[in-house]
């Protein structure tokens, strides 16, 4: 099972960019600071875009990117190309960092100072995201097999970092229903994507 998994990830083939990131990560692990700058030059604008979609506020998004690069540098030696691609590894670090900041903000925020949903732009809308996925045919086709509302919920979680409870509130649905819809959507996506 696990080896099937590894080979299916590899079957997509590391693109030139992914290879470049992986060799830069190896150089970071051996202390080459210019290698970190190379990753920054190639990916920081997209990373800031992803952080902005999750955090909505520019200052927080910049903080997430800043922290992510510090973590990439410190943890570069732990990156294992056998277990996954360098590109998804750096985005996982960015996403984890962004989500932590998002949860902290929400935990301490006051009512006059809302983060979040109201500030979401059209850019973050699930259907806008779908329309941009033209090059990712497999993902797009599999997402299209889900009923639109369920697809929207999965995308809201990934793109805007909404929790089960926030999705339930936004769609006026019981949280249990949201949880089981997401679970079932993930199972059918998994079946479709392999």
């Amino acid at each position: 099972m696990a080896s099937d998994a590894a080979s299916s990830v590899k079957a997509q083939g590391p693109s030139g960019k992914a290879k470049e990131i992986e060799s830069a990560l190896r150089a970071c692990a051996s202390g080459d600071k210019l290698a970190l700058k190379r990753i920054y030059d190639v990916e920081s604008a997209r990373m800031l875009g992803v952080a902005q979609r999750l955090l909505k506020r520019r200052a927080l998004a910049e903080e997430a990117v800043q922290d992510a690069f510090v973590l990439i540098w410190r943890h570069a030696a732990r990156f294992d190309p056998e277990r996954g691609s360098g590109l998804t590894w750096i985005y996982a670090i960015l996403r984890n960092r962004s989500l932590s900041i998002l949860r902290d903000e929400k935990r301490t925020e006051t009512s006059e100072d809302p983060v979040a949903e109201d500030l979401a732009s059209e850019e973050d809308d699930p259907e806008t995201v779908m329309s941009k996925l033209s090059d990712a045919k497999a993902l797009r086709a599999c997402l299209e097999t889900l009923p639109p509302q369920r697809r929207g919920i999965v995308l809201l979680a990934f793109v805007q970092g909404l929790t089960h409870g926030e999705i339930a509130g936004k769609l006026s649905m019981p949280i249990g229903t949201v949880k089981s819809w997401i679970r079932r959507s993930l199972m059918s996506l998994k079946e479709c994507l392999g």
């Binding site: 696990a2 998994a5 299916s8 604008a45 800031l48 998004a61 990117v65 990712a136 970092g161 998994k190």
Partner: protein
């Protein structure tokens, strides 16, 4: 669903759980348990990686935002990446022959001067330390960290030399494989920063070298994995928290 390390998952359950993790839907104790399990469960790690690869196109098509010019220097500063200054060129030796040059080159003269200087420094240092020691032992700010039930669990003392120590007042139960992480929060826009990680309740110095320190600054202790929070932010339950007040 929770993800305790000993629970057996069927492949569909495992994939659904990994998918929820990658979507960012696991929180609190579930997230901590999942992160621990991920370290040892190769099949789960492979499933997480597959989800990341599958969903990455959603991140790849984002509208890029050019980072401001100041962002990279901030990263460099965080990493202590200062540009190495070139080694100073060796001093040209003074021209030989003159009496001044003889004196200048005399090892005996310099040894004597160095010895006298060192002795004077030593005497000054002893006096200074005695005076400073009295001043340094008095804390500037004190925070009493309370549990949710209001039980005083630890004290944080900050000293004039910026030394910060945490002294526990109670034993704190730490689950196996977990540790106590100490955080400080001085500005919500910056968020909490880790200042210490200890395996059990004991007195410890906190690392606030580059961080601000002042009145009404929050300190809190959370339960985290033994190697520290996987996210760099508090993820586990809060054991106790409190804010600093100025000592009289």
């Amino acid at each position: 669903m929770s993800a305790s390390a000993d629970m057996i998952l069927t492949p569909p359950e495992r994939d659904a759980l990994a998918g929820e993790y990658v979507l960012g839907l696991l929180e609190g104790a579930d997230l901590v348990a999942f992160a621990r399990r991920l370290d040892s469960d190769r099949a789960l790690a492979a499933s997480v990686e597959r989800w990341r690869a599958h969903l990455h196109p959603i991140d790849a098509v984002v509208r890029p935002i050019a980072p401001p010019p100041g962002l990279w220097p901030r990263i460099e500063a965080d990493l202590g990446m200062t540009v190495q200054t070139a080694a100073r060129p060796a001093l040209a030796p003074p021209s030989a022959g003159s009496r001044l040059a003889d004196w200048w080159n005399s090892l005996f003269v310099w040894r004597g001067a160095a010895f006298a200087g060192a002795l004077a420094s030593l005497l000054l240092a002893v006096g200074l330390f005695a005076a400073l020691d009295r001043a340094q032992r008095q804390p500037v700010y004190v925070a009493v960290l309370l549990t949710e039930a209001g039980i005083a669990t630890a004290v944080v003392n900050t000293y004039p030399d910026r030394r910060v120590e945490m002294v526990p007042l109670q034993n704190i139960a730490v689950p196996p494989g977990m540790a106590l992480e100490i955080w400080t929060l001085w500005d919500r826009a910056v968020g909490p920063r880790s200042v210490g990680l200890i395996d059990r309740a004991r007195s410890t110095n906190l690392r606030l070298d580059q961080l601000p320190l002042g009145r009404d600054q929050l300190f809190e202790i959370t339960i985290e994995p033994a190697t520290g929070s996987p996210t760099g932010r508090p993820t586990g339950p809060i054991v106790a928290k409190g804010t600093t007040s100025q000592a009289l």
